[in-house]
């Protein structure tokens, strides 16, 4: 398509075709790689229709997913909202994979396609490739083939063992999905072969060093039996690697009643949960990074005269919709908008680097006035998650701009108290509290496997470490506990223990007699 000699525009009207898409992509790529110095996976852009977008939504955004009724439930829910016009579809969906897959909706105008390309194929893509959480915890190049394996495996299980058999296991596993991630230690990466090899070696060693003498030691006198029991307990805990925060992992490895295929199902659910865990911890940064990138790139394209004023207005219109932050008393208030907060913080970093006030120099001595906003941002994107990012970079200027205030809420009182507002005395407190609210691990209920006697009654004991007196919702707690019991096969009990005082706040069990 010959371009007008006078016009340098990438596209003229709102219709798109593959030629304009590709031309625009190249222009965006040049800016992203050369000017912003982004580092991305190769891109794959896929055009899909709105129905396909709805499909993708309901299967947690994966292009390949096994079948389960809960996705059908989500689907009718999303479809309903969409048909009623209560919720628009996302313009784009991006998958943390290598190559990075971006879905573009066919209904988008060309200006929107450009925006989405910049947002997802470069913003999100850069973040996926460089952020330490994604690097350490997910394997972008393997996820698609893993999902393919999972899908095939589960449908094979359904053929062999029946749909309902598979369904009950998946139901129980889904209930524990939040408790199915490793938060603090990296997931063990040993392949099953290596593991078997190691077990064999250990067994050999034990056989070689076996001495019958030790077995015939006289039983200890009564006084020490208590101590013995304690030692036994601590020994078996050590053998099972307890306490264990990843319930699905524990059940998969230790449950005595599961068939091998059932363990594999647990593993699949657990792997998916783990794959999404970094995304939940970096919502603000991820969206902020993508929004900042698309905003910078689109403005740059406009400055170069490569997109028209009309298209730019359209881009700005949807950009401002995305970063709109209603205040707390607005009926539309949904919580703090991660796009708005992330974008504002990154723009703020740019401002602090290039045009700092004296206040900024006090708060951010390392970066204020350095002029190196690109380097600062790229470093932040690589080495932070939401919690640490906010703790590090939320500036007083931004707190004032958002007019943030801190509210404390004690369930016992019938009022909420304003603890801090956006003034000199409140900045620190607000920043800390906001950062903490993005700490996923701290906000999820901390439930761990603490003890089980595999040789005795096999009663599985869970412990909920209660923080700030926040207990569990009882109905869903009991229902979930039944799911644990289903996977464990023997009775399960849960004790709520105050994290600070070690007081037992509540106890519940699936055993019929105990309550």
């Amino acid at each position: 398509m010959p371009k007008g000699a006078a016009s340098n525009l990438l596209f003229h009207d709102s219709d798109w075709n593959f030629e304009t898409l590709s031309r625009t992509y190249d222009a965006i790529e040049t800016i992203a790689l050369d000017e912003l110095q982004l580092d991305v996976y190769p891109n794959q852009l896929e055009i899909i229709s709105s129905e396909q977008m709805l499909d993708a939504y309901s299967s947690v955004g994966m292009p390949l997913m096994y079948q389960h009724w809960s996705f059908g439930k989500r689907f009718v829910f999303e479809e309903h909202l969409y048909r009623k016009g209560r919720r628009g579809l996302a313009y784009e969906l991006v998958i943390n994979s290598n190559p990075c897959i971006t879905y573009l909706m066919e209904e988008n105008t060309m200006a929107m396609q450009a925006l989405v390309t910049a947002h997802a194929s470069f913003g999100h893509n850069h973040f996926f490739k460089n952020n330490y959480l994604f690097q350490q915890w997910t394997d972008a190049s393997a996820i698609l083939s893993y999902m393919e394996f999972a899908k095939k495996y589960i449908s094979k299980c359904e053929e062999r063992y029946g749909t309902s058999e598979v369904e009950v296991i998946l139901d129980s596993a889904h209930a524990l999905m939040d408790q199915g991630v490793f938060r603090y230690r990296r997931p063990p990466r040993l392949s099953s072969e290596k593991e078997r090899e190691r077990a064999r070696e250990r067994l050999e060693y034990e056989e070689q060093t076996y001495s019958d003498l030790w077995r015939t030691l006289p039983p200890s006198p009564d006084g020490e039996s208590n101590k013995d029991a304690e030692r036994d307990a601590s020994e078996r805990k050590k053998a099972l690697n307890l306490p264990e925060e990843n319930l699905l992992y524990f059940l998969e490895k230790t449950s005595l009643i599961l068939e091998p295929w059932q363990r594999e199902l647990l593993r699949i659910v657990r792997v998916i949960a783990q794959y999404f865990y970094p995304q939940r911890q970096t919502k603000v940064m991820n969206e902020g990074c993508a929004t900042f990138v698309h905003y910078t790139i689109m403005n740059r394209l406009f400055d170069q005269g490569r997109i028209s004023e009309g298209s730019m207005l359209e881009v700005l219109h949807s950009h401002s919709n995305v970063v709109f932050q209603p205040s707390f008393d607005d009926p539309r208030f949904p919580g703090i908008n991660p796009y708005a907060l992330g974008f504002a913080m990154m723009q703020d970093i740019q401002r602090v680097c290039t045009d700092p006030t004296s206040e900024d120099r006090d708060w951010f001595p390392e970066i204020a006035g350095s002029g190196k906003w690109r380097e600062t941002l790229i470093d932040a994107w690589a080495n932070h998650r939401d919690e640490s990012f906010i703790l590090q970079y939320l500036s007083p200027a931004l707190i004032r701009k958002f007019r943030l205030f801190l509210l404390t809420d004690d369930a016992g009182d019938n009022y909420c108290e304003v603890a801090s507002i956006h003034n000199e005395r409140g900045y620190e407190a607000i920043r800390t509290a906001l950062a903490r609210s993005y700490d996923v691990a701290a906000n999820q209920s901390d439930i761990q496997v603490v003890d089980v006697d595999l040789l005795g009654d096999r009663h599985l004991r869970l412990q909920h470490n209660v923080k700030n007196g926040i207990l569990l919702d009882e109905a869903s707690r009991d229902a979930t506990l039944r799911h644990v019991r289903h996977l464990w096969g023997y009775d399960v009990s849960l004790a709520g223990v105050d994290a600070e005082t070690d007081d037992v706040l509540y106890e519940c069990s699936t055993a019929p007699t105990s309550e």
Partner: protein, 441 residues
């Protein structure tokens, strides 16, 4: 360079399987909801999509969730206008917390409705209803046959030869009779050729060649005698004609439109007919409807006229039955059609005609019909009086005798829209034992 892939042509409805699983799980609850909706008087809408609320039971996805009514929390909120530290705000409601997070994101999934397609609705709606006598009618009514594979035969037409079977038999026979293979023959021929090529012409050598020639000759004769494929090997695919159940039905709607039938009565009758029509539509590939209205004379009319136009005159029910018989004879021979009839009336009939109706039914109609339903529409006040007794209008009393004799005749009374569905279910409920019509000759 990016890799562009156009996925728009990929198959849609990837979620269909998931949706089906979800509906299956929620089946009981959805069924109840649909029934209630239909009872509430929207029968004309049955044949459409339905909105149903999210079922509550069976589709919960529990997980460990923090309870909103306990503990201390901190919220950071944007948009402070006038607060200073220490201000106290009353909590908005019992839901605890000043709408921190989650207020908007969790958009309760309970109070939304989703749409079931027409087919899904009908499936739920007509579950465990069955057409009486439908399949059990004798097979002579079937007019179509379909050829179905039925094993193998030793005779048949050459087009039906089953090559696999035939060759298997041939192979087995060849092994059993030790038919020399081509390779055996070729081996001996080769050896002869080799020996002949040698210049050695000793007596023993010649003898050896002779012996080999003889052997070769024997083999070849044997090969000729034992056929490669013998007629006894040949097998043919066998087909059996299988009768196909009759797949077309006609439904006669008979209604009294004399002055005594008001709007209410007609509306109730219409609902009943609509249900019956829908139900038959689920079961038959092809279904015709014939509308016959009558006063003191009967006529076939189109649907609109049937339900909406007014006519006055006396009431002679037998005219409608006669008209129906005429139409059956003319267009719907009972051998080829499954015939269903539904009659709606307020039960009034001119004196003496009821007996004529009964004799028509006895002598002709009931033999032809798959099923005959009589629905009497009565006043709401009359339900208490007539609800369960055998007393009633002249037509009702006359029809009692038919009811007692023919199992494919059903009669019932309707006073309210809400009666229709239960009555319908009663009429078509799956019966444990169904008597064959043909036994009653």
């Amino acid at each position: 360079m990016p890799n562009f892939i156009d996925r728009r042509l990929n198959p849609k409805d990837k979620s269909l399987g998931n949706r089906r699983r979800f509906l299956k799980r929620a089946r009981e609850e959805l069924k109840r909801t649909i029934k209630e909706q239909i009872k509430a008087g929207k029968i004309a809408d049955v044949d459409a999509e339905h909105r149903v609320p999210m079922p509550e039971r069976g589709v919960g996805e529990p997980s460990f969730q923090p309870s909103p009514t306990t503990g201390e929390r901190q919220y950071v909120l944007p948009g402070n206008h006038e607060f200073s530290p220490g201000d106290r705000l009353p909590k908005p409601s019992a839901r605890g917390g000043a709408s921190g997070k989650g207020a908007g994101t969790g958009e309760s999934e309970d109070d939304f409705q989703f749409v079931l397609s027409r087919d899904e609705v009908l499936d739920l709606f007509f579950e465990d209803l069955e057409l009486p006598d439908m399949v059990k009618l004798n097979l002579k009514e079937s007019v179509a046959f379909k050829r179905r594979r039925a094993g193998f035969a030793a005779s048949g037409s050459p087009t039906n030869i089953n090559v696999g079977r035939t060759m298997r038999n041939s192979y087995g026979r060849r092994i059993a009779l030790r038919r020399p293979s081509r390779a055996d023959v070729a081996a001996i021929a080769d050896e002869i050729a080799k020996l002949e090529a040698e210049s050695n012409t000793g007596g023993a050598h010649q003898k050896h060649i002779e012996a080999l020639r003889e052997e070769l000759d024997k083999l070849e004769r044997r090969r000729r005698r034992i056929a490669y494929v013998d007629p006894v090997d040949i097998r043919f695919n066998r087909f059996e004609p299988q009768p196909l159940p009759n797949a077309s039905a006609v439904m006669f709607c008979l209604m009294d439109v004399s002055a005594s039938m008001g709007e209410r009565e007609k509306d109730l009758a219409k609902r009943f007919f609509v249900l019956l029509h829908l139900f038959l539509k689920r079961r038959y590939k092809r279904i015709d409807i014939v509308f016959i209205r009558h006063t003191d004379e009967a006529g076939e009319v189109d649907e609109n006229t049937f339900f909406y136009s007014k006519q006055s005159g006396g009431t002679v029910v037998s005219t409608a039955i006669e008209e129906m018989l005429r139409i059956i004879e003319e267009r719907y021979p009972a051998r080829e059609w499954n015939i269903y009839a539904a009659q709606a009336s307020d039960g009034e009939n001119s004196a003496g005609d009821s007996d004529l109706c009964v004799s028509l039914l006895h002598r002709q109609v009931m033999r032809l019909c798959q099923y005959y339903a009589y629905v009497e529409i009565i006043d709401e006040r009359e339900t208490e009086i007539f609800g369960t007794t055998d007393n009633g209008t002249s037509l009702w009393r006359a029809y009692r005798t038919v009811d007692s004799e023919w199992s494919n005749f059903q009669m019932t009374r309707i006073a309210r829209p809400s009666d229709i569905y239960p009555v319908f279910r009663k009429l078509f409920a799956r019966q444990a034992t169904v008597q064959l019509r043909t036994e009653r000759r």
